[in-house]
């Protein structure tokens, strides 16, 4: 069963970090990704650039509207995600707890339904 692990945290924390601190966090992410790959649980995982780079698209009555910024202003922003393939929710929750940002932000765990499967 596939789960999306959506990583939310206050992106100003990242902005305030020194180069050394960022390198340390990235190292921990790399180690987690490597471990998930070794166990055959890794499907996908990417960081997202900060919300000031976001654009939002809506189509209303046939017209495409593009606006600057994320779709909602929130305290914690979506900063990256993993897609993992594990037997059940407990396994997905355990991985979510190992994501470095879990200690400063929040990880939302959402099952990916297998439609037509």
């Amino acid at each position: 069963m596939k789960y999306a692990l959506l990583i939310y945290s206050d992106e100003t924390i990242w902005e305030k970090m020194t180069e050394g601190e960022r390198g340390e966090v990235l190292g921990r992410y790399m180690a987690l990704s490597e471990d998930l790959k070794r166990r055959g649980q890794y499907v996908l995982g990417e960081p997202l650039d900060a919300t000031p780079t976001a654009s939002t698209v809506r189509v209303r009555e046939g017209r495409t509207l593009v606006t600057d910024g994320p779709f909602a202003e929130t305290k914690e922003q979506l900063g990256g995600f993993y897609v993992v393939d594990v037997p059940d929710l407990d396994a997905a929750l355990a991985i979510a707890g190992r994501i470095p940002s879990a200690s400063v932000g929040s990880i939302e765990v959402r099952p990916i339904p297998a439609y037509g499967g």
């Binding site: 069963m1 037997p87 929710l89 099952p111 499967g117």
Partner: protein, 430 residues
């Protein structure tokens, strides 16, 4: 079911229906747990069991009541489930997502090979109390599946509308299926954390039964008994756990006082004034044994073992004045060290008043008032009013008790507090 299992051919409709009702009441949770373990689908399991019960009556009247009615019902429900899976292709597809249940053929063989005597209720309890489900959904699910309470009964007990409660149950069952919340008892380090959640859920059920948060009735004995049933089940299926035994002891000892806690007019009677002769003696004895066992099993007793030990101190006192309050304060000290919540500290302050006098306790209660956080809790103001009254500060006492009345949730509690105010105004001693 083989014909040789039948004790008597052609049981009368009344006998068969009485048997079915008795089996259903006693075994529903266990049968359902077995079916959910196999099918991994709460709704399918419930529907199959319902259909099996509908056929049971006519079959039992025709062929006699089977020697093992539970096994009969499990088998019949399995067959119903297989029929449904075969009939309903979309359901089969849904179930195919589970690797262990690929195709109707393997589902069938799995159903047939399952041991109908296995007890799956512990797994069901852990699934119902999974932290990924909202606390109120955990409670509703446990009461519904394991205790067999109807949606209406649970809704009434928690004073919510039936459709609201029904929706809560449907959402929880869907989440279990969609997010694939596992149907298992966690192991190792995880078990300890998850067990705490299960105990908390049972405790919430008990608490709602014992001190209803609203309404006219002070006690909801039914919920207390369901909580004790769940705790008993947990202790039986997962023996040797201090906190689980402590929770059961706490429930037994507290519930043993139920008849003494309200008088014949339905009014509140405080512990000190209760007729201890009306306490349920057998339940007290069982609770005392459990409380001691919970303490013995833990190197460092947890919150439930400590609360059970406090309840045991009360239970051991033949008269209120025999209560060992300094022992109770000592237990509260340990509880505060584990759980420094305002409510625990308030209870400790009340014990200090009994052990060392109101003058020593009042500053502890005043500190809680100053901190805030409990200002909406009527018992904080009630306790403060009592202490002030004992210290002869009647005017302040009346004001504190009036605040308590305005915050109290149940009729009996409000009337009790009002009677204290009246006594104080009339100049009677407390």
């Amino acid at each position: 079911m083989a014909a040789s299992d039948d004790v008597s051919a052609g049981a009368g409709p009344n006998l068969a229906s009485a048997h079915l009702e008795a089996v259903f009441r006693a075994e529903r949770g266990r049968i359902l747990a077995t079916l959910i373990a196999i099918l991994r689908d709460f709704e399918l399991a419930e529907e199959a069991l319902q259909e099996a019960c509908a056929t049971a009556l006519s079959a039992w009247v025709r062929d006699g009541v089977p020697t093992n009615p539970r096994a009969w019902l499990v088998q019949a429900a399995k067959r119903r489930a297989i029929d449904r899976i075969r009939r309903d292709l979309s359901l089969a597809r849904k179930l195919q997502a589970l690797p262990e249940l690929e195709g109707a053929q393997s589902i069938e063989s799995q159903l047939e090979s399952d041991d109908p005597l296995a007890d799956d209720r512990l797994r069901l309890l852990f699934t119902c109390c999974h932290p990924a489900l909202a606390p109120e959904a955990q409670i509703a699910l446990a009461l519904h599946t394991l205790c067999g309470l109807t949606t209406e009964e649970i809704a009434r007990a928690f004073l919510v509308a039936t459709p609201t409660l029904a929706q809560r149950l449907v959402r929880a069952k869907r989440k279990i299926r969609a997010a694939r919340i596992p149907y298992r008892v966690p192991d190792g380090a995880e078990l300890k954390a998850r067990l705490e959640g299960v105990l908390r859920t049972i405790y919430l059920v008990f608490n709602e039964g014992y001190s209803a948060t609203a309404g006219e009735r002070l006690l909801r004995v039914d919920l207390c008994q369901e909580a004790i049933r769940l705790a008993r089940l947990l202790v039986a299926l997962l023996p040797g756990r201090s906190e689980a035994i402590g929770l059961l002891a706490l429930g037994l000892l507290t519930d043993a006082r139920r008849d003494a806690r309200v008088d014949e007019r339905g009014e509140l009677v405080r512990l000190a004034e209760q007729d201890r002769g009306t306490w349920d003696r057998a339940q007290v004895l069982e609770g005392l044994g459990m409380a001691e066992e919970a303490f013995r099993l833990a190197a460092e007793p947890g919150p439930f073992a400590l609360q059970a030990a406090i309840a045991a101190c009360h239970a051991r006192a033949a008269r209120a004045q025999d209560t060992d309050w300094s022992a109770i304060v000592g237990l509260y000290d340990r509880l505060v060290a584990r759980e420094p919540t305002p409510v625990v500290r308030l209870n400790r302050a009340v014990a200090v008043a009994e052990a060392s006098g109101a003058a020593r306790a009042l500053p502890l209660v005043d500190a809680l008032v100053a901190e805030g956080g409990l200002e909406r809790y009527h018992l904080l103001h009630a306790a403060r009013g009592e202490l002030l009254a004992r210290l002869g500060r009647s005017e302040e006492a009346v004001r504190a008790l009036e605040t308590a009345v305005s915050l109290a949730a149940t009729g009996p509690e409000r009337r009790f507090l009002t009677s204290r105010i009246e006594a104080l105004a009339a100049g009677r001693r407390f």
